[in-house]
């Protein structure tokens, strides 16, 4: 069957089997491998992406069910080469080790911050409670989301802070732009 949907703002059409899962559609048919595929049983949240603006576990949605809807994956977080503040937060706070859970965590975190720009630690933990990280523990992930909440415009503010706090900053000191966007 033919499915047409909007993925990261662009319309895509593909011929697929009705039984194809959305996670495999975005990874194998569209080459968007940022969305990960883990447990296959709706438990780990590695496959979380947005469908019609809500985070969903894409291993438990058929590509056919997404037809006519709008899908957003982790590839769409960065804008004009500028990482989203949640991505920067994960870098600043060491929110990842192997990175397997990270795309799902990022998509849930972005959704949370869009609805609640200043979430408590408990709220963050609740939001990611359907997602598993087997590397870092959750402390740094929570800190990363808090960082993003405190820096809604991301690195630009970090630079400002670095300048105001440690001015005159010597090159290479503080949190430089290259470090933030590396």
């Amino acid at each position: 069957m033919q499915v047409t949907m909007t993925v990261n703002g662009a319309e895509v059409t593909r011929d697929v089997e009705p039984r194809l899962l959305l996670v495999h559609f975005v990874r194998d048919h569209l080459g968007l491998t940022g969305t990960h595929w883990g447990c296959d049983t709706s438990n780990c949240g590695a496959c979380v992406l947005w469908m019609d603006g809500e985070p969903v576990k894409s291993c438990t949605v058929l590509a056919a069910m997404a037809a006519g809807r709008s899908v957003r994956t982790v590839e769409d977080l960065a804008r004009d080469g500028e990482l989203d503040p949640v991505q920067q937060g994960f870098m600043q706070c060491h929110g990842l080790q192997c990175g397997f859970c990270t795309p799902g965590m990022l998509m849930t975190a972005r959704h949370l911050l869009d609805r609640d720009p200043d979430p408590s630690e408990a709220t963050i933990r609740e939001a990611i409670s359907g997602q598993l990280c087997r590397c870092t523990g959750y402390q740094n992930i929570v800190a990363a989301v808090r960082w993003a909440a405190e820096h809604p415009h991301g690195a630009a503010e970090v630079d400002d802070e670095a300048v105001t706090q440690s001015a005159p900053a010597a090159p290479g000191e503080g949190r430089s732009e290259t470090e933030v966007s590396a």
């Binding site: 069957m1 089997e17 009705p18 039984r19 899962l21 296959d40 049983t41 709706s42 949240g45 979380v48 809500e54 985070p55 969903v56 576990k57 438990t60 949605v61 058929l62 056919a64 069910m65 037809a67 849930t108 609740e126 939001a127 409670s129 359907g130 997602q131």
Partner: protein, 291 residues
Amino acid sequence: MQTPAPFEYERAGSVDDALALLERHGPEARLIAGGHSLLPMMKLRLARPEVLIDINDLDDLAYIRLDGDAIAIGAMTRHAELLDSPLLAEHHLVFREAERVIADPVVRNRGTIGGSLCQADPSEDLSAVVAALGAELVVRSRTGARTVPARAFHTGPYETVVGDAEILTEVRVPVRPGAGSAYEKVERRAGDWAIAAAGTFVTLDGDTVADVGIGLTAVGAPHFCAPEAEDALRGGPATEDRLAEAARIAAEHTDPSGDQRGPAEYKRHLARELTLRALRRSVARARGEGV
């Protein structure tokens, strides 16, 4: 990789359309709502429908509204909407408390009340909630609609009265002025199914229990309810002793089976303790105490 067996996909544009598709494709066709019970079963090949009829476009079945002396909930209402509903929280806090511990926030964006009740998993939380509240379920076919009491809806594990060419369209929860309600669940980890759970409501006339509903899940309570315990409590004072006695009777009528979530005796103990806690909080809320 877990892949469902092949099937044909159809998308319904309306309830009538879905009913026509069900009739055309016969008993091997299945509706798919949130898909968060059905797709995992299809991946494990525990379910092999030949045709899937997607009802996610039926936005007219996604609502929570006051309708006469009932709160009407459309079958396609998602868990997340039930959790966030101020109307449900105002009348029956048991819904919000149950929803807070059903699966996780991402799963709750997809799973629906209709799918939960029709899945009829013996550990489904909402089955206990609607049984406790004495809800009525509206089931439609091409020839008309019928109303089934929640306590007559489930005919066994994974089985309901919904026929092959029927759709559950609405859940009607009676408004009970002054009622207090609560949900108590024990699970192994965040987002897991219940080891045991109890949901209750109580209305008071002075200090007399005017009415009470007790729902239980995951412990083999027939029809997810405890009518013997309700009878024992109704019409007498809402004392701690009588609540405890009702909880004891409720547990006595359960028939839990031991599994990876725990042995039967532990589950029976939980059934008693959780019923008691839910009753206590329901009574306190009916008294207007903020708990």
